[in-house]
Amino acid sequence: MPEQQSLTPNGLQALLDALQARGYRIIGPTLRDQAVVYDDVQSLTDLPVGWTDVQEAGHYRLARRDDDALFGYAVGPHSWKHYLHTPVQRLWHAKHERDDIIVTTEPPEAPRLALFGVRSCELHAIAIQDRVLLGGHYRDVHYAARRQDNFIVAVNCAVAGGTCFCASMHTGPKAVAGYDLALTEIIDEGEHRFLIEAGTPEGVEVLSELPARQASNEDIALADAILASTAESMGREMQADDVRELLLAHLEHPRWDDVATRCLTCGNCTLVCPTCFCTSEEDSSDLTGTEMARSRRWDSCFTMDFSYLHGGSVRASHRARYRQWMTHKLATWHDQFDTSGCVGCGRCITWCPVGIDITEEVKAIRETSQEAGS
């Protein structure tokens, strides 16, 4: 059992200072465009202090809390893939030299990133992208470089968002692995403090530099109670244990036609999803054709081009594209990567302009399949 310590808010600022002193660029939650997004953080005042969010299907709004909590909200539209599996990445550039072409691989950038305020579902999402981009025969050099020097400060969720269902997916709300340090925020009778524990030797080392003291048994019990109540108050739930078999047995279920009438195939769900990894390549050249380059950018299985084969798209209908996305997340991901592709963060529900809810879609298929006795 790793030892829990206690930090004051000033002590937490000391953590930010210690990480900066170690040469880390700290990325954490900030407020921008009326949403919580991940960006550079130097001081605790850069965080959304005293804010929370109200999330529902197709709905996101910030609201004031009646305290100064630093982490009193759930996840926003950003995920850590913005920094680890970036939206655009140049892969190589090439130059014509006389009648030869010289290709140069884009040197992978290895920023020392400290990810500050990573939720449990997000730790799981990062671990999933690790499997996709590093776990196979080939490795993505850019992702690998951006991942290699991470220092991760996790936060155990003290509130569940309106669209969260990590408890169903066994991905939260408590961080259990994949972090260097993990925090639990406690605000009790006006006293603000953080329980902190280390998950790695580097975490232990950093923690030893902080003005922390041994956590009291009362606080440890309080933190457990906070997490238990978060798990109890999930905005959504999904019966996930057999969802792979359920979906694969119902690839022609009428519910896919139903969701097709609602889905705009805008691809928002794939952009906000922390595990969606698909990309496309794009070539460019200057006007004279002497300099050329290839970049990759995030792509989405909701576009027509995504499945294009000469003559047309394989998945031309909305039905087929929604089905591809949802069955990939919840079913075929298991076949491909031995894990679900969904961590229950709820982003796709919140940021869908028409409020399509992955948990509702599963439920609808489950209920009608039981009625039909299949």
Partner: protein, 282 residues
């Protein structure tokens, strides 16, 4: 938490193409060109594998190897111009540079086929990825039973590798039937879809493997006809086509249900696709 450093043993970025030169270019039918490319330090390939070929400044597409696996002096590719990148490839001339990554994917089950009859069903350009398999079957002829090639094209002018097919017919121990969809008056061969030829092939049921490559509809009909002729799903292999951007399992484009065609295919045993081929828009 940082990831383990052994994951960073990155000898080579799989996304960066090697620059190669075209050694030879020749026409192989309408809009179709065969390019011989210098092999550089390319690894040996298996029949059925493909390379990612780039025309710099235009783009990159998957193209099967169509030459003999034992020919280490050139990498042969047969390309039909259907869009921007494939057209640019067919316009490259001798001495020009292109980008190459690969070989990728698995291959035809050459070892499993030993001791068996082999039926190859090729629709249109589908003969290109089958040709390396044919070379290997013919060069190790004694290891296989009866070998039959069924090739279907739109018209006699579209018959791929026409002269080579004539030569195989005359000099090699392989049964070849060619059929066309539309025949001019002087055509004396078969007319109709290639799958109709299947019923006339003498099979030793229980001892035959089928290699199928062509448009997806044709493959669906071929599977049905092969099964009618007594073949089991576990003896039918097909080469799948899906949009591909990376060929190494990163981009997600080539998914077909649970498989990545680039990584797990392009050749699949039909029973391992779990009936997905019968569903639309997977």
């Amino acid at each position: 938490m940082a990831i383990q450093s052994d994951k960073l043993a990155l000898a080579h970025d799989p996304m960066t193409p090697r620059v190669m030169r075209v050694l030879k270019r020749c026409h192989d039918g309408p809009q179709t060109v065969t390019l011989d490319i210098e092999p550089g330090d390319s690894a040996p390939f298996q029949p059925g594998q493909f390379n990612m070929l780039s025309v710099f400044g235009v783009g990159e597409v998957p193209i099967s190897l169509s030459g003999a696996p034992t020919d280490h002096d050139r990498l042969r590719h047969t390309i039909r111009a259907v869009g921007p990148v494939s057209t640019a490839l067919t316009r490259l001339s001798k001495g020009e540079c292109l980008g190459l990554r690969g070989p990728f994917g698995n291959g035809w089950p050459m070892q499993q086929a030993e001791g068996h009859d082999v039926v190859l069903v090729a629709g249109g350009l589908g003969l290109a990825p089958l040709r390396p398999a044919i070379y290997q079957l013919l060069s190790e002829r004694e290891r296989y039973g009866r070998i039959t090639l069924l090739h279907g094209t739109r018209s006699p002018a579209d018959i791929l590798f026409h002269r080579e097919i004539m030569a195989w017919r005359r000099h090699r121990n392989i049964d070849i039937e060619v059929t066309v969809d539309h025949a001019p008056p002087d055509w004396r061969g078969h007319v109709g879809v290639v799958t109709r030829l299947i019923s006339s092939v003498p099979f030793e049921t229980g001892n035959t493997l089928a290699f199928v490559c062509g448009p997806e509809v044709m493959m669906r009909f071929a599977i049905a006809a092969l099964k009618d002729a007594g073949l089991g799903d576990e003896t039918i292999y097909l080469s799948m086509e899906r949009n591909m951007k990376c060929a190494v399992g990163f981009c997600g484009h080539c998914q077909f249900g649970p498989v990545f065609v680039c990584r797990d295919g392009p050749v699949f045993r039909h029973d391992r696709l779990g009936g997905l081929l019968n569903l639309k828009e997977i």
